[in-house]
């Protein structure tokens, strides 16, 4: 791992402050990251559960964190494909968690998967896979 938890957290706060609306970094490992989102009324959809886009945003940002923790602070890494299956109804007012794991990091692209959990439920509520495109100059600011 090239980047420490503190460095990545500071980078996200500086370069992607509105990313906090999607989730905040909890843990960072070699090829993985965990993010958490405290759920409030703005995150709910008809039916009183966490909306799909909220979980998509959390998954996408968690993978961004896992990738930047691995390859360095490359702000311009961008998602190219994102796929998610919603499997279970999350609890309405419980925090949601995402665990992002890299499956492959190549020179110009990366692939990863994310499991999303609702606090208090054992089984994941959603599962996402995604590909990221890595720009040629792999160096952060």
């Amino acid at each position: 791992m090239q980047v420490t938890f503190g460095e990545l957290k500071a980078f996200l706060e500086d370069h992607f402050p509105q990313g906090a609306a999607y989730g905040t970094l909890q843990e960072l490992g070699d090829g993985w990251a965990e993010m958490k989102l405290e759920v409030d009324d703005d995150h709910l959809r008809p039916g009183g559960t966490v909306s799909g886009p909220v979980m998509m945003g959390l998954a996408d940002v968690a993978m961004y964190a896992a990738l930047l923790g691995k390859i360095g602070l490359v702000p311009l890494a961008v998602t190219t494909n994102f796929n998610i299956n919603f499997m279970r109804k999350p609890a309405a007012h419980a925090a949601v968690w995402a665990r992002a794991t890299l499956l492959k990091v190549g020179r110009t692209m990366a692939v990863g998967e994310v499991s999303i959990y609702s606090t208090g439920m054992e089984e994941p509520v959603a599962h996402a896979t995604m590909t990221y495109s890595i720009p040629p100059e792999k160096h952060g600011p």
Copy 2:
């Protein structure tokens, strides 16, 4: 089409007020809907472009609108699978548009596709497909 533009707009404002953060309904047809999002700084990601989750949310809500316009105001219709390809960099401060089209509406599930455009660019910036699960009682409030 079972639902008028005005009925759907009122339904979304009543039952999903925070959905306006994802986009607002512009047009509604038989099996399709168009939504628009005015982009501000909160929608940008590192690199100064519209973030992926913003486009995902817009696509998801546009399809929800197209579906409810077709089957009636069924709040508990939920996304089960969502897939998106990001193809071009949208302009930073231009509104984004989504055109959602239903490909199939069955008794318990629906499939659709969404093209996303950035104002001023001719080609779509992203393309999404998704499946929705329709609960057994297909009647709105």
Copy 3:
């Protein structure tokens, strides 16, 4: 379009002869291709309908044809992401058709969508999207 129908057909027969098991080229346009597969017992799955993998193979090869028709005979273009929604049960012994359309052709990647039809049915039976990676040297043999 850089490649003629005859050139592409000859290329596929020479370089990908087993591709005929997935479908044969019917038409080629600027950014699109149509392929057809005559269905026999080997293509069926339990329940007596065309199996999913048969439609996946047809979709993938149709997009390969559309792409090579556009960028030239680049054998090493490879699928990186493939997503398909199965929407309707195809007829058991009717030919299946795929219409592949490019949504974006960039320098190193392409995105497209494919609609699959069962002869005699008006609505598509499946819809796929996929991304292709284009190797740096974009020249055919």
Copy 4:
């Protein structure tokens, strides 16, 4: 697990004999299955590697096996969404393996993921996720 390895193997041979072209069952556990495909020239694509559709078929049939091992011999369970990321080039003439794991089994739908390996390579060559629709009558022949 409701079904034994021998029962499932016999079922697949009886009801889906051409499925052997996609892979043969190696192991079956509670919520997972492993399938293997011996690769020959018919499975290769331009560039001399295993073709995408071959890996898609293997993944799809492996998940079908994992699901039927779990819910019983329900022939009419059908794939509704299939998504795959191709990550590494498999070896040309080495067998490919798929390990399918169920992520959720509901009353009417199931979700799972599949990792595909090329014999002799440690990292997976592809990763798929898919949803299956389970018909109301959940009993095998």
